[in-house]
């Protein structure tokens, strides 16, 4: 008889204990850099010989977001294109220019990224010395030959966004 009562108690206890159970959720925040493509750029074609991502030229400026968990762990290097990865045949020279600037930031002190940036070749390097999120605006302009019209077709170019641990 006692054994029967005990057997009945076990599921009752299990339900009672289960209802009150706490489930831990564990998480860790580790040092990392996340590169996020916020806005895909689009080349505008303001004149026959020019492709440009700037709004004034009818383009859309590509925007890249970097999330920085730990300050000074990474530097960002953003490289604007100097060739098309996909285009019609271009027998003449394409002159490339571009610029990378700091856009929105999650922390006002990130304005230091813009003043401290280093530009070499077609790359711009930023020391990510403040944790948070920063949006970089990247413009790219391609001018073809000397007042020559770009052939009709699709044009694709790459922007390279890098995070390099320091």
């Amino acid at each position: 008889m006692k054994l029967n009562k005990l057997l009945l108690l076990i599921p009752t206890l299990a339900v009672t204990l289960g209802a009150g159970a706490t489930i831990p959720i564990n998480g860790t925040v580790e040092s990392k850099c996340v590169i996020m493509t916020d806005t895909d750029g689009v080349y505008g074609n303001p004149t026959a010989d020019k492709l440009s991502t700037t709004a004034a030229d009818g383009g859309v400026v590509p925007i890249i977001r970097y999330d920085i968990i730990t300050a000074s762990a990474y530097k960002a290097v953003i490289t604007t294109p100097n060739s098309f990865s996909n285009s019609p045949e271009l027998p003449d020279v394409v002159n490339w220019s571009g610029a990378t600037t700091v856009g929105q930031t999650s922390d006002a002190s990130m304005s230091a990224f813009e003043t401290g940036k280093v530009i070499y070749n077609n790359s711009t390097e930023f020391d990510l010395s403040v944790a948070g999120s920063v949006w970089f605006n990247v413009s790219s302009i391609a001018e073809y030959g000397y007042d020559k019209a770009l052939p009709a077709g699709n044009y694709t170019a790459f922007i390279t966004a890098e995070c390099v641990a320091q």
Binding site: P62, S85, S133, N154, C163, Q166
Partner: protein, 124 residues
């Protein structure tokens, strides 16, 4: 600030992002003698990207020979993948960076595409 970023990460859900961790990996002994390994984690939430390449470099960005299961890693959208990078013991002292880089298929026809590269630095 860390809390802000964490909230952003959780709410934002990384619509289109590339992660490669740890930032400072350690080279440890592998199951083969004379070969060390680094355990890396790749996370892809870029919809248009299905492959990432790996690279190992010294401080001057010279390439260093390495082995891994795949040098071009196939990875689905929102997938996490652990990647072991094997480096010869004779190269471990000069090894500085392990990098992953997005590979964009020719079929992707956006006019301006972002190629992302993240480099971790070996902990000495």
């Amino acid at each position: 600030m860390k809390l802000f970023v964490l909230i952003l990460v959780l709410i934002g859900g990384y619509a289109s992002a590339h992660q490669f961790t740890p930032t400072y990996p350690k080279l440890t002994a592998s199951h083969m003698s004379g070969v060390s390994k680094a355990e890396m984690l790749l996370f892809n939430t870029r919809k248009e990207i299905e492959y990432y390449s790996l690279g190992v470099f010294d401080k001057d960005w010279n390439k260093i020979k390495f082995a891994s299961e795949n040098k071009i890693i196939p990875i689905a959208y929102q997938e996490r993948k652990y990647v072991n990078v094997y480096i010869r013991d004779q190269d471990t002292l000069r090894t500085m960076y392990i990098c992953s880089r997005s590979k964009i298929l020719q079929s992707v026809k956006s006019t301006s595409i972002v190629a992302s590269r993240i480099c971790s630095k070996i902990k000495k």
